[in-house]
Point group: C2
DNA sequence: TTTTATGTGATACGATCGTATCATAAAAGA
DNA sequence: TCTTTTATGATACGATCGTATCACATAAAA
């Protein structure tokens, strides 16, 4: 048969164009034509690889979620302490560099839309909520068993607090209402509040 | 002269129509025609009271901010303790009923757009940041002076934590990832963490 | 080399958008 | 009563949108 092109690569190129537009101009500027122009291809090609605009939006998000998952997983150092693992995880939620800023922005833009769009909600909520709460709670339980925590803590609620704190600061950092250093300092303040000592 | 109509009332009616659309279908569905239809007036009328779509968006937000400010101010009971004042303030940030849910949704939708729209940013950031951090910090300082707090707290950081916590949970509650009761319980858990005893 | 499935371009259609224009209804001041 | 200013309706224009259609180039399979 014919030309033999890597479809997955082409789809990724187009999805990346969408990400750039969504992050820099907002989801409402994401049209078939704009995405095509940003990707440097014809509009027909975007139609070819993603039949409809709705599918384009959903599948570009799915690709971004996969992209983010790999990025965060790659961050966790091998022999990290429980405390450092939690810290890396929390800081991973903050828009501290250009790429994570883009991720936060995309996630937020889709999130707002998903509130009244059940189809999108499935793709937004599922990967973001997969059990971060449970994961952090388990990490805290491990630290508690090792005697690294202050006494009298309710681990599930501490986990919820830490995660909601990061999410809340994400928005502030994104809007320029809080500096990145400030956000990191506040994460560390709360880790100090939970863990017994700074040392590993 | 002629018909003599209350312009401010008309503008509010149209703005309210915009709020309903923005909260139920998203800001990208806010068009001059849709707002006019929702308000039950002609498109021309929307043009008459808000010259352009951009002005409509900005001024409807300003009206909503004013609306929210009154609502929150009306909530604080007269002889409330410092702890209750902070609690009311924090819970006021959460989408616990239909009206505050609408406010959160509107604020978030505008916020996302404001990230890449400096004109909007001025109207989104200014009223939301006016010094909530400072206000909560001062309330905490008052409580500390009255001997109501645990020792070793950094008040500014505790204030930042409490506010970011509420903001972070707002998103979760909005998306149905966390129940309202759960969010309230987490606020109270953190208040217990900071204040010495439950009693006033 | 011929065929044929795959990939790409050009273009067209109907809908909706923001905005502008023109006309008119209504009521306060003369 | 007549004029004049305010408020509202009807409608039109150009742009952009999502999507569909038609044509054609290309390279593997025959």
């Amino acid at each position: 048969m014919p030309k033999r092109v890597d479809h997955n690569l082409r789809r990724l190129q187009i999805a990346e164009a969408l990400w750039r537009i969504a992050a820099s101009r907002g989801l409402e500027e994401v049209s078939m034509r704009q995405v095509a122009a940003e990707a440097g291809v014809s509009t027909r090609l975007v139609q070819y690889y993603f039949e409809t605009r709705e599918r384009l939006l959903v599948e570009a998000l799915a690709l971004r979620n996969e992209h983010d998952r790999k990025r965060i997983e790659g961050r966790l150092p091998e022999g990290a302490s429980l405390r450092d693992a939690i810290r890396v995880l929390l800081l991973g939620l903050l828009p501290l560099d250009e790429e994570s800023r883009q991720s936060t922005l995309i996630q937020l833009a889709y999130g707002v839309r998903a509130v009244n769009d059940p189809l999108l909600a499935e793709h937004v909520i599922r990967p973001s909520k997969p059990g971060l709460d449970e994961l952090v709670t388990e990490l805290l339980a491990g630290a508690q068993a090792a005697g690294q925590l202050h006494e009298g803590l309710e681990l599930m609620r501490e986990a919820g607090t830490l995660l909601a704190l990061s999410n809340g600061m994400s928005y502030d950092v994104l809007m320029g209402m809080r500096s990145a250093d400030d956000a990191i300092a506040l994460v560390d303040y709360n880790l100090r509040r939970v863990f017994l000592s700074e040392a590993t």
